[in-house]
Every structure is written in C-alpha cells, then in structure tokens.
C-alpha cells in the first residue's frame, strides 16, 4: 500500500512557471513598471511567452536590459520603443493599429454590422412574403379540394 502511494505521488507533476531572478529596485513604482513591462513584452525567440515567463537566454538578456533601463529612470514609452526598434511589433502582445493589423481591429465590428444588416433584411422579406400569402383568398375550386382532402383524412 505504501509503495503504491509513493509511486502515485511520483507520478504527480507540478508545473513551475516562475523564473527565479532577483532584481533590486529603488522605488515601488520602478518595480511595478518592470513587472508590467516583462508581462507585456513578448520574447522574440519564443512564439508565445512573455519576458517574465521565458527561460530563453534572449529573454534573460532582455529582462536584464529592461531592468537597467527602468533603474536608469526611463519612461515606459521609451523602453517599449527601444524594443520595437529592435524586434518589431512582434514584441508587443497588443498589436498597434496599422494598415496590416486594421482588419483585426475593424473586422469584428464590420462582421457584426453586415451580419446584422443581412439578418434584418432577410427577416423583413420573410414577413412581407407571409402577409402576401394571407391576403390571398382561396378560390372556390381550391375550397372544394381542401374540403375533400379533409374529408379523406378523417376516414
């Protein structure tokens, strides 16, 4: 029993996401800025890791450089621009509005707008078709036929 228990605990695995680096900051604002930046900047070598999560050596270097810039008193914008200059908009998790990314920003809105228009138009058409039918009276021949069908089905 004990052996089985030990075996089972061995099979459990825990994911460890934190990267252990120690940085000292002079002020709390600097530390907060560093935390936001490393969470919002993306590691260029990895497809989907931010700087804070990645263990890639480029991410380590970038954390160090970001730390240096934060401690030097650089503003958030300056630091972000520094990285965009080097690695392009890829380093940003939130894509800026450019011609190439416009579809991402405008697309959903257009989709809802056009979809809504089509739905409204189609439903209107259906209503008018239905009312057309209702207005039509049955001719006497049709009435006779209907009566006959009903009579047949009752048998």
């Amino acid at each position: 029993m004990k052996k089985i228990f030990v075996l089972m605990t061995l099979m459990l695995s825990f994911s460890v996401a934190a990267v252990i680096d120690v940085y000292d900051f002079e002020t709390e604002e600097q530390e907060a800025l560093f935390r936001t930046l490393t969470a919002e900047l993306r590691c260029p070598k990895c497809q989907n890791n931010n700087l804070a999560d990645s263990n890639a050596s480029i991410a380590k270097d970038m954390r160090q450089k970001t730390y240096n810039m934060v401690v030097d008193g650089k503003e958030e914008d300056e630091i972000v621009t520094y990285w965009i200059d080097r690695f392009g908009n890829f380093v940003l998790y939130k894509p800026p509005v450019t011609l190439g990314t416009a579809i991402l920003w405008v697309g959903p809105g257009l989709f809802i707008l056009f979809g809504g228009l089509i739905i409204v138009r189609n439903s209107r058409r259906k209503v008018s078709v239905e009312t057309d039918d209702r207005d039509e009276e049955l001719s006497s021949a049709e009435k006779d036929r209907l009566a006959k069908i009903l009579k047949d089905s009752e048998k």
Partner: protein, 182 residues
C-alpha cells in the same frame, strides 16, 4: 425586366459567401508558407549602434563602431553552440575567398571554444568581435544565430538576413543585396 434585376441581385448575394471563403482561403494559404520565426527587420536604414568590444583573437585590442564602416561588408553573428553556424561556416570561407569583406561577431560564447573553432574550420573574418554577454547583439536586435547584417560604407545597416547563408540564398538574392551596397 425587374425580375432580371432581382435574379441578378440574388445571384450576387449567393456569391458573397463564396467570395469571402476564397479570400479567407488565400489568406490562410499564404500563412502556411510564412516562417513565423523570422521577424520583420526593423533596424534597416539605421547606423550601427555605439559599442566597445574586445577582439576575439587579441583580447587587449578594443573595437568600436568605426570598424563597421568604410566599405560594404557583412557582419556575421555566430557561436560555437549553434549548429547552423557550423554548416554555414564553410560557405563563408568561400565568400571570403571571393573577396567579400566579412566581420564576425562571436555571440554569447566562450573565447576558448571560439578560437578552437576558427583554428579548425578556417577564419573567414577580417575582424572578429567578441560579445560574450550578448549586449551588442541585443542592441542590434539579434535573437538567435546565425544572423548576418549587410552594412554599407557609411556604417548604415541596409539588410538583415536571419538564418544561414548558403549557395542557394546567396545566389538567389543576397549577392544582389551585397553588390548594391555602396
């Protein structure tokens, strides 16, 4: 008459989903062949940043950005831990023999290993910079090795190639880029 117009309109509305589908297909098809690991180059048209690095072969010698101007050249970023650099090295030797001016930057590496590598495989580099902590690399936007920068005589980066240089891509496009450098 009005019936014709109505029919045409209906045909158009029926075609819209097809057109949208075709657009999306083309978009996704192109995406299939795009290498997601190659980032857009953003350093093009800018001068080489300031730096002070020691020479790889002669540790006492220090270089600054002036070594990266004066003539058209390639700045090749390499390391001994990079297998692609190994396969690229032979071709760099050939290019150097053909008169292409190549400066090497040994990136996040150990001097001993790097020297052994150049000793065994030949040295295509006119100058070898040694960047052990990768800080110039970071300043240049290097995110892997090998990477090669095409620099003109004014010290301005005109092109960046990510990945190895081989006969195929050199004769395909890179040679033309190099010959256009002034």
């Amino acid at each position: 008459m009005t019936n014709d117009v109505k029919k045409k309109k209906q045909l158009m509305t029926r075609l819209i989903p097809l057109i949208v589908f075709l657009c999306v297909s083309i978009f996704l098809y192109i995406g299939l062949f795009r290498d997601a690991t190659v980032l857009e180059s953003t350093f093009i048209g800018r001068p080489v940043p300031e730096f002070a690095l020691n020479d790889l072969v002669e540790p006492e010698l220090q270089h600054d950005k002036s070594v990266l101007s004066g003539k058209p050249m390639l700045l090749n970023v390499w390391a001994t831990w990079c297998p692609t650099c190994y396969s690229e090295h032979k071709y760099l030797n050939e290019l150097a023999e053909d008169g292409v001016y190549i400066v090497g930057m040994n990136y996040k590496d150990e001097r001993k290993k790097a020297l052994k590598w150049l000793d065994e495989l030949d040295n295509p580099y006119k100058i070898s910079l040694y960047d052990p902590d990768g800080m110039l690399g970071l300043d240049l936007g290097v995110y892997g090795a090998p990477e090669t920068f095409f620099i003109d005589s004014k010290g301005i980066i005109q092109y960046k190639h990510v990945g190895d240089i081989n006969p195929r891509n050199w004769n395909g496009e890179l040679k033309a880029v190099y010959e256009q450098l002034k």
